[in-house]
């Protein structure tokens, strides 16, 4: 197994972003949002809320990565990272559920976003940071 690389932010990589790729992500994001709204209108907010975590955008991203990289491995690695983002999503939803009616809802959503980022980052560092240090 190769040693994991350090986390980096490289704005220069944005040059690789393609318009069709972004348009596809926009389309999937819009479609899932509309679907969640329609389901919520028809079957209530709890069922609609289930679709706020529907993985259509992730499926589109994995397909795009495979097309761009001409390999299944980067897409698979992306899915590994997505597990951590998904665990963070549970923390996000729990925060909103617990706080939305107790404090201003916008503040609850802000706290939930921070909770998502912290949970995902800490899990990343715990899992791959520990492997890196071995």
């Amino acid at each position: 197994m190769s040693a994991p690389r350090r986390m980096r932010i490289q704005p220069s990589k944005l040059r690789r972003v393609t318009l069709p790729g972004m348009a596809l992500r926009f389309a999937f994001g819009a479609a899932v949002s509309v679907a969640a709204g329609l389901v919520g209108n028809r079957w209530g907010p709890v069922t609609g809320g289930v679709f706020l975590a529907f993985p259509a955008v992730l499926a589109a991203t994995l397909t795009l990565i495979q097309d761009e990289e001409h390999s299944r491995i980067p897409a698979s690695n992306d899915a590994r990272g997505a597990v951590l983002g998904a665990v963070g999503m549970i923390a996000f939803a729990l925060c909103v559920w617990a706080l939305a009616t107790r404090i201003p809802t916008f503040v609850a959503m802000g706290i939930a976003l921070v909770a998502w980022a912290i949970v995902a980052a800490v899990l990343y560092l715990l899992i791959w940071g520990v492997r890196r240090s071995r």
């Binding site: 819009a30 709204g37 992306d78 939305a100 009616t101 201003p104 939930a112």
Partner: protein
């Protein structure tokens, strides 16, 4: 505001936030860390913001309860997608993993009904 415009606003805001998270994911490396942003709460933030603006905080809390179930199913999706994508490729692998999401989400929704 009519329901059609509310739905359109959901679509527009959801699409834009997904693009924003995707751009952040493109900037970061390694690929595993970028994957975190592929499972970011973009659609949830957009949907909950529109719900808050037009229906209020109680409805947002209810949708968050459903989202807990959807997120647990998302973890199952991602965990199953890793081997499925390697074996079947991204398109077929992620499609098969969506079946896992649907099964876990349905079971979870029935559990909290």
């Amino acid at each position: 505001m009519s329901q059609v415009w509310t739905i359109a606003l959901r679509g527009l805001s959801g699409g834009l936030l997904v693009m924003a998270f995707a751009l952040i994911g493109e900037m970061v490396s390694p690929k595993r860390f970028a994957g975190v942003f592929a499972a970011g709460p973009a659609v949830a933030l957009a949907g909950m913001t529109v719900t808050l603006l037009f229906m209020g905080g109680r409805q947002v809390a209810d949708s968050a309860l459903g989202m807990i179930v959807g997120s647990v199913a998302l973890v199952a999706y991602c965990a199953s997608a890793v081997p499925l994508v390697r074996r079947l490729g991204a398109l077929a692998g992620s499609a098969a993993a969506i079946a896992v999401w649907a099964a876990v989400a349905t079971a979870g929704r029935l559990l909290i009904a």
